[in-house]
């Protein structure tokens, strides 16, 4: 496939061959060190390095000069990643040879079983090209799994060395041996990178081996007939929560269905699964169905229904204004229904302001200046951010929510899906759902609108329209359900969200806008006497940018 790219294919084959030779020369050197083998290893290293550079240059030149199809692009990326890792394996071989000079006797290394590791490494490197050329999934997986085998061998030798070190026997030789064996373990890491680069070519997306295995288990459990390669694994969306999300499409099955695959932190994924089941019990069809769920060590994975439609923010920017109007109407009706059905008339305290404190270090890491100190202009004091947060916490303690509802928990505008055909809205990303103050969801939703990165007057007008519509709806709900502290809690919630969202905003001017508007709300709340505060009206204009 790469033959047209100025001999790139040939260079790549040579690189593999040379790294194989280097591995072979290194084991020969370990078994019987001679100056000539040592020199051979050192000089070969330069050649390998040059080959890698040639390949890298050709990859980038090709990218720059040739119009490549998506498949060719993936192939090129994989060749680049594999080459870098092959060169690194070559370097580790050199490092191993150099370490031999520190042993009191070359035979000392015979105390450890390293030959098998070398043989396996050599064999695995020779498996790279066939796996790449034939897009062989099991070949790629075998290369990935070699890391585990090398890790196990490393652990065995490591434990052995530790026993000797504890009693102080041949300390120098044991430490040198440990360094040598450690390089073999690192070769395993490089082989894993190579295997994952091959998975990328075969599956078409960047995926880690444990994620792939989790996907495989989930698909099997959810009833997929056939191979994992029968699915299209695409559109991986990064996520701030550290979870990996992908859309999975079945290609061959008769009952082909699309799904969403999520893999990541055990606690979050497990909670998401519990919450999805809970939502589905209360409001069937509002959230994705769970197809399968797996736990593996500290990670978990989830395969859920893929819900067709657009996110609500996409509806905002749709040229057809009717779509937004419809979407908002259905969205508000759905919410009204959810809130009324799950309303629990027990007052509960909120902790919105505490979140500002909890996230302060992340905020200041991105914007160190967003922490106003105590200031004054003559006799006029300007409250510091800390004083305002403290003042707001006191207010929050005095105004608990009069009732709770089952909340979304991460009610960003892009966590709501709207389907224009079915005239329905759906919720996604529900790992934080719980019975809580509905104002939490409202404030997050409003600020997620404000934060949308669109600044032209037309888009901004749509955003302001959405904010206005949603506030009116929420305020009416508050009035109808006897919630006199609604505006106060909304002020606290919006201030909290404006302040804490700055940690995701790298545009300094806009981050300052959000921060200053957050402080403005806090100032307006804290300057009031307890009697005046009861008449606080949320200044909606603060969300008009």
């Amino acid at each position: 496939m790469l033959k047209n790219f100025e001999g790139l294919d040939e260079n790549f084959r040579f690189l593999i061959l040379e790294v194989q030779n280097q591995i072979k020369a290194t084991i020969e050197f370990l078994l019987a060190p001679t100056p000539s083998t040592y020199d051979k290893i050192i000089s070969k290293d330069d050649y390998i390095d040059n080959l890698k550079n040639v390949i890298e240059n050709k990859c980038f030149t090709t990218l720059n000069q040739t119009k490549l199809g998506p498949e060719q692009m993936k192939y090129l990326r994989a060749v680049h990643v594999i080459s870098i890792n092959l060169e690194r394996i070559g370097d580790y071989c050199v490092n191993i040879a150099k370490q031999m000079g520190y042993l009191s006797s070359a035979r000392f290394l015979e105390n450890f079983d390293y030959r098998e590791s070398f043989l396996k490494i050599h064999q695995t490197v020779s498996d790279i090209l066939p796996a790449l050329q034939k897009a062989n999934l099991s070949g790629a997986l075998a290369i990935c799994r070699m890391e585990d085998e090398l890790d196990a061998m490393y652990k065995e030798n490591f434990d052995k060395i530790m026993i000797h070190l504890r009693i102080g026997r041949n300390v120098e030789d044991h430490i040198t041996s440990l360094f040598i064996i450690r390089y073999l373990e690192r070769i395993g890491d490089s082989l894993l990178n190579i295997g994952e680069a091959l998975l990328f070519v075969i599956i078409g997306e960047r995926i880690k081996i444990q994620q792939f295995q989790a996907l495989q288990r989930n698909l099997t459990k959810s009833g997929l007939q056939g191979e994992v390669t029968d699915v299209d694994f695409q559109g991986i969306w990064g996520s701030r929560s550290g979870c990996r999300i992908a859309r999975v499409e079945e290609k061959k099955s008769l009952q082909a269905r699309d799904s969403i695959f999520k893999e990541g932190n055990l606690r979050k994924i497990r909670q998401e699964k519990i919450n999805l089941e809970c939502w589905n019990e209360i409001f069937p069809g509002l959230v994705p169905r769970v197809f399968s769920y797996q736990e593996e060590g500290e990670n978990a994975s989830l395969l859920t229904e893929f819900l067709a439609g657009c996110t609500l923010d996409e509806a905002i920017f749709n040229p057809d204004e009717e779509i937004l109007k419809n979407a908002l109407f259905i969205f508000e009706q759905t919410l009204q229904h959810i809130w009324e059905q799950t309303l629990n008339r027990f007052a509960l305290p909120t902790s919105m302001m505490r979140q500002v404190g909890d996230r302060m270090s992340s905020i200041l890491q991105v914007h160190p200046e967003l922490m106003r100190p105590s200031m004054a202009m003559n006799a006029l004091p300007i409250p510091s951010a800390s004083e305002l947060i403290k003042g707001c916490m006191d207010i929050e303690a005095r105004y608990p929510a009069p009732f709770s509802v089952f909340t979304h928990g991460d009610f960003n505008i892009n966590n709501v899906i709207y389907n224009h055909q079915t005239q329905k809205v759906y919720f996604i990303d529900l790992h934080r759902s719980q019975h809580a103050d509905y104002v939490q969801d409202i404030s997050v939703f409003l600020v997620s609108n404000f934060r949308l990165p669109a600044f032209d007057p037309l888009s901004r007008g749509r955003i302001t329209q959405t904010i206005g519509s949603f506030y009116s709806f929420a305020k009416s709900f508050a009035l109808a359900h006897d919630d006199p502290g609604f505006d106060i809690r909304l002020g606290l919630g919006v201030a909290r969200s404006l302040y804490t969202s700055t940690r995701f905003e790298l545009n300094r001017t806009f981050a300052h806008e959000m921060y200053n508007r957050g402080l403005f709300l806090m100032e307006r709340l804290t300057e009031k006497s307890p009697e005046e505060l009861d008449f606080f009206s949320f200044p909606l204009e603060i969300l008009n940018y």
Binding site: P373, S374, M375, A376, M377, N378, A379, L380, I382, H512, E513, N516, R517, L519, F520, E523, P539, I542
Partner: protein, 89 residues
């Protein structure tokens, strides 16, 4: 060489609260002493004598900018320090 002393305050206000800040400055001019403090450190200005006073307004569509700038030099035997107040809305 003396170090530049600086005071910077940026915030969102409304017409009502802007007046508090203008009032504080107005009192400062009246008393001939404006003290600006931040995080424990203070800058003390003593507006006196003739001052350059500049009002600049810019209007572009819905965007408005009103800048007030007052520049003067301290009258002192030892120093030739200058004071500047700039207000931008």
């Amino acid at each position: 060489m003396s170090q530049d002393e600086k005071f910077e305050f940026e915030s969102v206000q409304d017409c009502r609260t802007i007046q508090k800040y203008l009032q504080a400055l107005q009192e400062g001019f009246e008393q001939g002493r404006i003290v600006l403090s931040a995080d424990g450190s203070e800058i003390c200005l003593n507006p006196a004598g003739y001052m350059k006073f500049q009002v600049a307004v810019k209007k572009k569509g819905a965007e408005n900018k009103l800048s007030l700038k007052v520049v003067w030099k301290d009258k002192s035997d030892q120093t030739l320090e200058s004071g500047t107040i700039s207000i931008t809305t």
